[in-house]
């Protein structure tokens, strides 16, 4: 197999964003007729690499060779023209249009007059659908199709560009067993037609079934590649997570107190099922899982943003009914959401107004908001979190991401919670702010706050947590504590494998 010609060679690829080095001297080689699994933890640089290959990002440095020729992708169309097509994690297409239009949007067959050649559009689409053995017709409206069928439309779309390099980013995430088999049949067919495929998946079972080769990234850097038949799952996991993770995070000595939160069999119809756990004073409970495992949805339900259908929540031994966020706040629960810009801050407001918003009633003894009270609270929490700003009235959209995150945490601390839920608290912030946030989380636990830390960053969750609950597809897989915690075991559990 190794004597197949290489279609695509990436070398020295680097890309930085403010505060983050997403890719550093990465490399990747694809050969025709081969499936290459691209491996790496969340944040290892896989999506950045895909976005460079599809012309969405431009690399800071590095070379992309296709058939030995250097390529420069300034926009998505350049990348197609070079024969690259990507099938995205979440199908991004046009629900209201027909399958044929979805396949050929942007490059529809046209008559001499420049008008769309509908008969040709449909016959070409039908041909592509036949090639991948799809059972629906080209005039079907996309939104009537299921997720697996939408994937097939995306594959047909890739084929319509005569793509020779097809990137599949978590293509099986929403598919059932039988549908995965169908997808693998299609992949094998594409291989036999000489396509090279990049296959991104967190499920090792699939990787060993379909991939011929692997390439592994870690922290934006290339760490190895080779043939799948020469490697074991344990070796791959070690490469993905292999780093020392104990220096960065403050070790704490905290006495764990009494149980403050008991969740029993919390479930809803589509997002999580049978969630049961306890949380004690001073404890940090990490929640780890792949993106889309249902962690945030569970937390949103605990905070009353959505409703659970079954199960109970007890705070300090008393059953509480949480129907909306205001119930949760009165029960002493605070939730720092993942999407800070949308769910966490009021960008045009100043720091003071942001910090006191959820606890505004406490600053309005006689129904009139007391500015001095507000300022006192803002000073206290702003200073504790060392928010860097020119004044407490500075607008949030003028602050850095890290400082915004500090304001969001400060705002929830001002509600004086007993239970603090942090959802991806360090996502997208620079390393300096990250360390400050970590240190502060440790301090809060030391003061007896019970903390839930939802994080997709393995070192963070391992470094900070007393115990770690792993979720997979909405279900609780296992809770790891103390010596049971190892990166390998956690990654395995999160991939849904009990291997």
């Amino acid at each position: 197999m190794n004597d197949q010609p290489s279609i695509l060679v990436l070398s020295g690829l680097s890309k930085s964003f403010p505060g983050v080095r997403a890719l550093n001297d990465a490399k990747l080689t694809l050969r025709s007729g081969e499936v290459t699994a691209l491996l790496g933890e969340n944040g290892a640089g896989k999506s950045t690499l895909v976005k460079i290959l599809t012309g969405i990002y431009r690399p800071d440095a590095g070379e992309i060779l296709i058939d030995g020729k250097a390529q420069h992708f300034n926009q998505p169309t350049d990348s197609w023209a070079a024969g690259i097509a990507a099938i995205h994690q979440e199908t991004v297409m046009f629900d209201e249009l027909s399958v044929a239009e979805n396949i050929f949007m942007g490059h529809m067959p046209r008559k001499k007059s420049g008008l769309i050649d509908w008969p040709l559009l449909h016959s070409k689409s039908q041909e592509l659908l036949k090639r991948i053995e799809a059972e629906f017709t080209s005039d079907t409206i996309l939104k009537t199709l299921g997720v697996a069928q939408k994937h097939m439309v995306e594959i047909a779309r890739a084929l319509s560009h005569n793509a020779r390099i097809i990137i599949m980013d978590e293509p099986t995430a929403a598919l059932s067993g039988r549908e995965i088999d169908d997808l693998f049949d299609i992949i094998n067919q594409l291989k036999s037609q000489g396509c090279a495929i990049i296959f991104i998946s967190h499920k090792f079972e699939e990787i060993f079934k379909i991939a011929d080769r692997w390439t592994c990234l870690r922290d934006g850097e290339y760490v190895g590649d080779g043939a799948i038949k020469d490697v074991t799952q344990a070796q791959l996991v070690k490469l993905m997570v292999g780093r020392s993770i104990d220096q960065v995070f403050p070790k704490r000595n905290v006495t764990i107190g009494k149980t403050v939160l008991e969740v029993d069999d919390l479930s809803n119809a589509t997002e999580f099922d049978g969630a049961s756990f306890n949380l004690r004073q001073g404890e940090i409970l990490g929640f780890y899982g792949l993106v889309g495992a249902g962690r945030s949805e569970l937390m949103q339900s605990l905070f009353g943003i959505s409703q659970a259908e079954r199960g109970t929540v007890k705070v300090n031994g008393n059953i509480v009914k949480i129907e909306n966020p205001s119930d949760a706040i009165s029960a002493g629960i605070a939730y720092v959401p993942e999407d800070r810009q949308v769910q966490g801050t009021f960008q045009p407001f100043g720091i003071r107004e942001n910090i006191t918003l959820p606890s505004i009633a406490n600053h309005a003894a006689s129904n009139v908001i007391s500015y001095t009270d507000e300022l006192a609270t803002t000073r206290k929490f702003g200073a504790r979190l060392s928010v860097k700003a020119s004044s407490w009235e500075q607008r949030l959209n003028e602050l850095s991401g890290g400082n915004q995150q500090k304001v969001v945490i400060a705002k929830w601390l001002a509600t004086k919670p007993n239970i603090l839920i942090l959802d991806e608290p360090t996502k997208g912030i620079d390393i300096g702010s990250k360390a400050a946030v970590h240190e502060f989380i440790g301090e809060l636990a030391g003061e007896g706050l019970a903390i839930i830390l939802v994080s997709s960053e393995l070192p963070e969750v391992i470094g900070m947590s007393d115990s770690i609950q792993v979720m997979h597809e909405g279900k609780f897989i296992r809770r790891f504590s103390g010596a049971e915690i190892s990166p390998e075991a956690i990654v395995n559990a999160a991939s849904g494998g009990a291997h």
């Binding site: 599809t54 969405i56 926009q75 998505p76 169309t77 197609w80 991004v92 297409m93 046009f94 629900d95 209201e96 249009l97 239009e101 949007m105 942007g106 490059h107 529809m108 046209r110 420049g114 008008l115 769309i116 509908w118 409206i141 939104k143 009537t144 299921g146 997720v147 697996a148 929403a174 059932s176 809803n268 119809a269 589509t270 997002e271 999580f272 099922d273 889309g292 495992a293 249902g294 949805e297 959505s306 597809e473 909405g474 279900k475």
Partner: protein, 329 residues
């Protein structure tokens, strides 16, 4: 879903027919050919402008300045006609289209290349255009005596027994049908409104398309500007005042989604026809204009409620069991 959309259009068609018949029973004069042609002729402006507005709404935009553009262009060509009565009609019409398109392209440039929200841009240009009419005419009203014979007679001319206004509207409708249905550009408008990110990944040049739709809408407004002034024989600051909202109402009633990406030519035309019939038929049986407004208002809300898509899943499908159910459904 396609069936439902079609059904809604059929339903709207029935409602329009029912109103026409009901009014006809009370006042048989309404059902004469002459009277019906008059209703259609009166609604021609709304047909053309609704289809122009639809192009913009499809891309998730909105244009509040269409009626102001119409009034400004109408005033401009009326002034030209007064100053130079010998200018041929063809040139006047061409001038109207060009002025309208130029005004529309200001909106387009600000939305597409400066990135200002359409509602803000067109709210601003609406006021500017109205203000310009006053400056241009020095606050004067131009009436039929200021305009040349050829200028005034064209909208009332007949070809094969059909008023020229209907012929022009027919051509504009046909052009829009081809645009929406038969061109990649037109399908791209649906893509932009349906999923802007995916549209960009498909290589659609979103700013360029936005710029073009505002310019096209402006051109149609300009054309209507001349026709309006010539038909009613008057050009003044408040010409077609408030008409921009009637245009948007016709889109909404016709099933064009304000959220973008959804809308058909037939639906938009029916929406316009509905409002045209309300305005022309109800006065025949002495229904006051306030009742007309009330009825239009209720129909707009009813149309939006019908359009509101209630089929979205309640949550994300994370559990394997939930995904299986979804597939069966």
């Amino acid at each position: 879903m396609k069936a439902l959309a079609k059904n809604r259009e059929v339903l709207l068609g029935f409602i329009v027919a029912a109103i026409v018949l009901a009014v006809g029973i009370r006042a048989p004069v309404f059902l004469t050919g002459e009277s019906l042609v008059n209703v259609i002729t009166d609604t021609c402006f709304l047909f053309m402008l609704t289809l122009a507005q639809m192009a913009i709404i499809l891309t998730r935009g909105i244009d509040l300045s269409l009626a102001a553009n119409l009034a400004l262009t109408g005033m401009a060509v009326a002034l030209v006609s007064r100053a130079m009565p010998e200018v041929p009609l063809g040139l006047i019409i061409l001038l109207a289209i060009v002025i309208g398109a130029a005004l529309g392209s200001i909106n387009g440039a600000l939305v597409a290349y400066v990135g200002i929200p359409p509602i803000v841009v067109t709210l601003g240009t609406l006021a500017i255009f109205r203000g310009l009419i006053f400056l241009l005419a020095g606050g004067q009203w131009l009436t039929s005596k200021d305009m040349s014979e050829a200028f005034l007679s064209f909208p009332h001319a007949n070809l094969l027994g059909v008023p020229s206004l209907i012929w022009i509207a027919g051509l504009v409708i046909a052009a829009f049908w081809i645009l929406y249905r038969q061109t990649q550009f037109g399908r791209g408008l649906y893509a932009i409104g349906g999923n802007p990110v995916a549209a960009r990944y498909c290589g659609i040049n979103i700013p360029r398309q936005q710029f073009i739709v505002y310019t096209i809408a402006g051109a149609v407004s300009g054309l209507c500007g001349y026709l309006w002034v010539a038909r009613y024989g008057i050009a003044f600051v408040d010409n077609a005042q408030g008409y921009e909202l009637t245009i948007i109402a016709a889109c909404v009633i016709g099933g064009v989604s304000i959220a973008g990406g959804i809308g058909t030519v037939s639906g938009a035309l029916l929406g316009a026809l509905f409002l045209g019939v309300i305005v022309n038929a109800l006065p025949v049986i002495n229904v006051s204009p306030f009742w007309q407004m009330l009825i239009s208002g209720f129909v707009i809300l009813a149309a939006v409620i019908v359009n509101a898509r209630s089929e979205r899943p309640i949550g994300k499908l994370i559990l394997a069991s939930a995904r299986k159910l979804e597939r069966k459904a």
